[in-house]
Symmetry: C2
Subunit: 218 residues, 2 copies
């Protein structure tokens, strides 16, 4: 893989160049998405990768292909967080650990929120990974509610609401030290978990109805 | 004011044109900031207003001047919300009404968040209005805590955190019907108020420390 391309026969050199471009584009896209979200122009990604826009489109014919290749790995990481949480004997603790960990991953990578909150119907691997993450989160919710620890009126939409809220904190604090953004996110997540637990639910008013959230389609 | 400029002497016509341009630019800026936040290029505002970029810069020499002129009005509205809340006999209700109303204003206008969370040291009127809003909010916090209704570890940073979180919801749901975005925001705000009230505080863990939030400086 690391052979000197100038020593290769022409066809092998071409393949090595292509592979190299692909790696550079994915690395650049990951950086640019993390810093600026998913709305950046494709030209900005090509520039960061040091390739032409035509090369970028030859490797990744649509923005969706690029986004989903970049984020499938991270979503797989998210699935493994949820799987670990499902192995936790205390259902409330399992739920909290999953929520806290996913929100921490989100702070480290701003693009992740958009990817998680956007539907890519044609990206099969990505949607499979997202489906797995979502099913796992729903099971964590079901168990924590069955144990009487999570409010009965909590829904998956509340989790999506927290991811959006946490993304807002990440965006607003993007130019501050990572420690400030992390502390802000931790406090937000802790407040939401406090609101959602049942220990105090007896005296509390019900939350207003869950919003009819649907995914963006691009 | 509404006289036909073509009937005016040249100097008066010039002043009427200037006034007209100024009004159009402010209206366009308000729309563009509301839809896309404060980061839009000045050229996009000039385009929307139907004036040249040179005209825009002649009227508003810096982005700060434009932003603060657009938002001073809204901040004044925010001050009056806080003043009304300070007149509420129940300190917890006063606090809740102020938080809910400001978050509703924020959903109606995405640019508002950025304006509220950004320092403009050279914009005297704007900073005076913001100072008044902030002093009023601090007084609402003090009273609700003195009445034992708001957690003792609640700080102004928690309010800023909510504004950032609410801004994230507004941004993420910008292309959905306003009713969906409003319902999402209401549920987020209600959850945060539930977390912050003291009725259940006895059994709750303390929140992690307030993040060291500072304002952006542009």
């Amino acid at each position: 893989m690391s052979a000197d391309p100038s020593q290769m026969p022409p066809a092998a050199k071409l393949r090595a160049d292509a592979r190299h471009n692909r790696t550079r584009i994915l690395a650049a896209a990951r950086e640019v998405f993390a810093a600026r979200g998913l709305d950046v122009p494709m030209a900005a990604i090509a520039r960061r990768a040091g390739v032409g826009v035509a090369t970028l489109y030859r490797r990744f014919p649509t923005r969706t292909v690029l986004i989903t290749e970049v984020f499938t790995d991270q979503l797989t990481g998210c699935v493994s967080v949820v799987d670990t949480a499902l192995g936790e004997p205390d259902p409330w603790r399992g739920f909290c650990v999953a929520v806290e960990t996913v929100c921490r991953m989100q702070m480290a990578d701003r693009g992740f929120t958009g990817a998680f909150l956007t539907a890519f119907p044609e990206a099969v691997d990505f949607e499979r990974a997202r489906g797995n993450a979502e099913r796992g989160l729903r099971e964590l919710i079901r168990r924590a509610q069955a144990a009487g620890r999570l409010r009965a009126d909590f829904t998956m939409a509340d989790l999506m609401l927290l991811f959006m809220a946490n993304g807002g904190v990440a965006a607003e604090l993007a130019d501050q030290p990572a420690t400030a953004a992390t502390a802000a996110s931790r406090r937000l997540v802790a407040a939401m978990l406090t609101a959602w637990r049942t220990e105090r639910a007896a005296s509390a008013d019900p939350l207003p109805p869950a919003p009819p959230l649907t995914l963006h389609h691009i």
